[in-house]
Subunit: 318 residues, 4 copies
Amino acid sequence: MGSNPTCATEAPGNGPAVSRREFDALFDAVRTWGRWTAADRGAWNRVTADHVRRATATVRSGTAVPMGRPWDTRPGPDNARPALHYMSELGDVEAPEPAVYKDFLAADYHGKGVSHLDALSHVAYRGRLYDGRAAGEVVDAAGARFGAVSALGPLVTRGVLVDLPAVLGIDWLEPGRAVHARDLVAAEKALGVTIGDGDAVLLRSGAYRRRRELGPWDPGEASAGWHVDALPLLAERAIALLGGDGDSDVRPSPVEGLHSPVHALAVTAMGVPLLDNLDLEPLSAACADAGRYAFMVVVTPLNVPGGTGSPVNPVAVL
Amino acid sequence: MGSNPTCATEAPGNGPAVSRREFDALFDAVRTWGRWTAADRGAWNRVTADHVRRATATVRSGTAVPMGRPWDTRPGPDNARPALHYMSELGDVEAPEPAVYKDFLAADYHGKGVSHLDALSHVAYRGRLYDGRAAGEVVDAAGARFGAVSALGPLVTRGVLVDLPAVLGIDWLEPGRAVHARDLVAAEKALGVTIGDGDAVLLRSGAYRRRRELGPWDPGEASAGWHVDALPLLAERAIALLGGDGDSDVRPSPVEGLHSPVHALAVTAMGVPLLDNLDLEPLSAACADAGRYAFMVVVTPLNVPGGTGSPVNPVAVL
Amino acid sequence: MGSNPTCATEAPGNGPAVSRREFDALFDAVRTWGRWTAADRGAWNRVTADHVRRATATVRSGTAVPMGRPWDTRPGPDNARPALHYMSELGDVEAPEPAVYKDFLAADYHGKGVSHLDALSHVAYRGRLYDGRAAGEVVDAAGARFGAVSALGPLVTRGVLVDLPAVLGIDWLEPGRAVHARDLVAAEKALGVTIGDGDAVLLRSGAYRRRRELGPWDPGEASAGWHVDALPLLAERAIALLGGDGDSDVRPSPVEGLHSPVHALAVTAMGVPLLDNLDLEPLSAACADAGRYAFMVVVTPLNVPGGTGSPVNPVAVL
Amino acid sequence: MGSNPTCATEAPGNGPAVSRREFDALFDAVRTWGRWTAADRGAWNRVTADHVRRATATVRSGTAVPMGRPWDTRPGPDNARPALHYMSELGDVEAPEPAVYKDFLAADYHGKGVSHLDALSHVAYRGRLYDGRAAGEVVDAAGARFGAVSALGPLVTRGVLVDLPAVLGIDWLEPGRAVHARDLVAAEKALGVTIGDGDAVLLRSGAYRRRRELGPWDPGEASAGWHVDALPLLAERAIALLGGDGDSDVRPSPVEGLHSPVHALAVTAMGVPLLDNLDLEPLSAACADAGRYAFMVVVTPLNVPGGTGSPVNPVAVL
C-alpha cells in the first residue's frame, strides 16, 4: 500500500484554487434539497433497516474501537474553547451511605478540540440551511427548529476507513494537503473496499498521531482534508456520513471567499452530517490488523432538542 | 402477559425491609472484587468479542431505537440541576461564508433528569469503590483516578428489556413498587427471554410514560425499581450492565440507613455500571411489535478522563 | 408613618389599565434619546463628579449595608435558571504548599433569582434600544455593541430607599400591588427625603421578607412594583438608577400587550439601568435605625464587554 | 520620583532566597489567629465605621476609577481557564414587547485572567486555613463553611496605590522583580502617603501596561510582586486588603518549596484577603493627575455562600 496515488514530485498542496462560481456550480450539482420527507435527517434517510442489518453483518471479530478524543479542559492552538469538567459531589464522610461522586461537564464543542457530530442546522450557505430552509427563520437563541441533532437520532451503518497514510506508506498527511477524488479511488483499490450508499466515510489523515508526536497546531490555519473536487464522487456514492480526524475541510480553503467549503457542500447541499476531530489511530491499527477497512459504525448523539450537533464517542465494530 | 407474578392482593410496596447486617451479607455475596485485571471496567470485562458478535447476531429487522430522554433545561421535581443549552454562534450575515451555528452544552448529569451512565467511580460503600479501592485516595477535585468513565469505553452487547408493565398488563409500575427476583423470573418466562452473562438488563417501569401522562414527581421520594433481593439473581446471571427508566433503586429505600442500596450492590460490589433515566417507551413498543425482548444494545459514553459517568443516548437495534 | 397614602378602602391592585397608545405617549414623554454623547451610559451621565462628592457627604455613621441576595443554586418558582457553583480545586494533600481552594461560578442572571444590574442593551421596544439604536444591528450572539455593561462602569451616587411598607406600617406590599406617583410623593414626605437628579431610587416592597416568611412564588405572575404612571415623575426627578427587591415592574402588567412596561420606559426610553432582585431588608432596618433614607450607594458591575448586565452586590453606606 | 530606592547596580531579582524554616518563623510572626470574633472576615474586622467615614473623607474630586480587567473569553498564557459569555436570549421579533437580551456568564475565576478577590477559604498552609481552621474539615465539594466570601461582605475603606513604576520613573517592573519593605517605605515617601490600619494596599507593577504593549506571558513563571520580607511591615501597618495588577506574589517564588508564599502569609496567617489581576493603569493616571495616592476604595464581592472568592470590579474614588 506504499504507492503514492498522487504521483506528485513535490509536496501536494491545498489546490487547485476554485472560484466562487465554480463552487456554486458544485453546490447545485450535489444538492439533494427536497428529496426527503424527514428533511432534518438528510442523508441519514439513506440508512434503511436493510443498511443496518448489512452493517451488523460486517462484524467479524467483534472488536469494538472507540473514536472519541479525550475531553480536553486545557486550552491550546486547537482548543480555543476548552471543555469544562468539575466535580460537583465528592462523597463526604458524614453523608449517608452510599457515598456518591458526581461531576459537571460542559463544552462549546464545535471547533477543533472535541470529537463531535455536526447536525444539519450547523451550516448555512447564502442564508440557507439544508433543504433550502432560511437559517434566519429557523435558528435563534433558543436553538434550531430545523436540522436539530435531536432529529437525527442514532446512526448504525457500515463505516469505511479511508486510511490514506496507510495507503501512502507514511505516518500522516501534512497539514494543508488536499485529498481528491483520485485519492479516494486509489484508497478504495488499495484497501479493498468500495464505498456505497448509506456508508459512513471516515478519512484518516493521521492528524491525531502527528499531534501526539509533534504537538498541537492550529488546524484552522493548516489541515489535511477533502478538496471540494472530491465531493461529487462522495455524492454519487450516496454516503450518509462524512467524518475524520480533522474536520473534513482542507485548510487553507482553496475556494474563493469560503472558509469551510466542504462543510457547505456536505452539510448544506448534501444533508450529510459531519463527524469532526476523531482519534482514528486505534481504528487504523485495528483495520490493519484485521486486513479490513469496512465495519459497523454506531454514532449516538445526545438527544438535544434544538441542538446544532453533539459531542460524541462513536464506535467502530470490526 | 397479564398475570400478576407477585400475586399480591394489595398494592405491592418497597419492602421487605432489610437490615444493615443483611445488606452487608448481600454485598459480600455478590462482590467480584479482585476478579478482573482491568478492574476499572468491572463487569464490562464479561463482554468479550464473542459477546459482541452474538449481540450483532440478535439483530433481525434492523430497527434502531434510541433511549435517551431529551436534554432538559427546565427545572422540575425530577430535574433539580437543569441542563444548560446556549447558542454560542448564530451565523452573522456579515460573516464570511458559510455561516455557522454553534452551541454550548452543560450538565451536572447525575440525578433524575438526564439519561446517563454511572461509571465505577460514582458510588462508594464504607469508603470503598469497586475492587476495594479507597475512594478518598483515588477521587478528588481533579476527578477519579480509578473507575473513570474513560476506562469503560463503548459497550456493544445483548440487551434484554424487562418490560414489567407489559408482563403485568398495566401502564406502569406505581412509584414505590419494588421489583424482585420472582418478578424477573416471571418476566423472562412471559417475554420469552433468558438473561445471560454479559447482558445489558433494562428494566422498564413505565415511569417516563407516567411522567408524560401525570406530570413529573420527585423520584428520590418514590420510584419503582429493584429491591436488593433481586441482585443475587442478577449477579448469578453475570450481567454486564443494569439500566432502566428510573435509576434502578426502588425508593423509599427498604434498606436501613442506605439511600441507594442497589447502586452500592451493582456499582460498588459487582462492578456493574448503571444506565439511569432512560426513555424506554419507544423500545417497549418496538419489542412488542417485534415480539422479541432481546436485541443489540450500544452505549458510547463520552471519553472523559476522570469522569464519574457520562450523559448518553444509548441505542437498541432489533 | 402608618397612614396609607393611597386611602383605598379595598386592596390596591395593579391598575389602572393602560392602552398601548397611552403607553406609547408615555414612552415619548420620558424619552431622552440623543441627549448624551456617551449614549451607552444613559442616565448615568447625570452622575457627575459633583454628585459623587455629594454622595460621599451623605455618609454619617459609616455603616455599610450590602444588598445582594445569596447566590442560589436551587431551582424554585422564582429561580428558573439556578446559578451554578462548583469547587474546581480542593487543595490536594500531595500538592505543593500552600494548598488552594478554587471555585467556578456561573449564572444566566437575568430573571428573578439573582441580584443584578440591567444594562441598556437588555431591553428593546419596537426594535429599538435606548437612544434609538436598532437592536437587531447591535446585539447578536457575540454580545451587545451598544449599551454593554462594560460601558457603564461603576456607579457612586446618592441612594434613596423608598421603603413603602415602612411608610404604610405593614410588613410588605402584596404581590400585584402597583406603586404610583402619589405613593412616591407620600413616601418622600413620610421618610423626609426628596429624590433629586442623579439619585439611585430603590423601592422596597418587602418581597424578600415575604419570601422568607411565606416561601417563594413566581414573581412573573404577581409582584409589587411601579405602575407606569409613576415614571413621568421619576423622569422629572432625573434619576440615574432604579432598583428594588423586585424587578421594578408591577405584575400582572397593567399595559396592553407588554410584559414589562417599566423596563421599556426606564431602560429603553429614559436610559435608566435597573437593579433587580435585591435583598433590601438589612437596608430597611439600617435606615429605620438611622432615621435617614438617603445614603451613598455604590454599584460595581463586572467589566463584561458586550454584556447585557451583571450580577452585583451593591452596597449602601449610611 | 525617579530615584531608584533599591540602589541596585544590576536588575533586581526575586531574591533573597528564603528557607522553609525562615518562612515558618515569618508566618508565626505575622499571624493574627484568634484575634477576631468574626474570624471569617479576618483583617476586614479592622475596618470600623470610623474607617469607612474617614475613607469617604478622602474623596476630593469625585472621580470614580474602576479596576476590573475585561471579562476575557479567549485562552492565553495568562488565561488558562477562559471565562464564558453566551447570549441566552436575543429578543425574537415574534416575542411580546419589550424584547429582551440576556446572557450567561461563567468563570473559574482564580488564576491570572480574571480580576477577583480571594476570600479566607482560598489558601491553606500546613492544612490550616486562617484562624487555624482545619481546611479538610471546613471545605468540601459543597464549598467552604469557614472563610467564605459571603462572610466578607462589601469593603469600603481607604486605598493606597503603591505605584512603584511611577516612583522609579519606569514603565513597569520587569516580571520576576521582588518588591521589598524598603521599596514600600521609599514609595510612601515619594508618593506622600503613609499606609495605616484598615487600608487597602494596591501594588502597581505596570504588568497590565506591559501586557498591552508586549503581549501576555505566563505570570506563574515570572511576575513582579511582594517578597515575603515585606509582609512584616504590612502586618505592622495593620492593613485590611492587599491587591495589585499581579497576584501579590513575586514569581519565581523565593521561598523553598512554596509556590505562593505571600498568599500564605497574607490570607492564611494575617487574614488579609487579596485582590488579584487588576488593571491599575487608569488609577495610576488618575492619581498622577490628582497628585494624591490615597482615595476611597469599594470592593463588593458577589454574595456566594461557600465561595472561596469572587470576580470583582473594584472602584477607587478620588
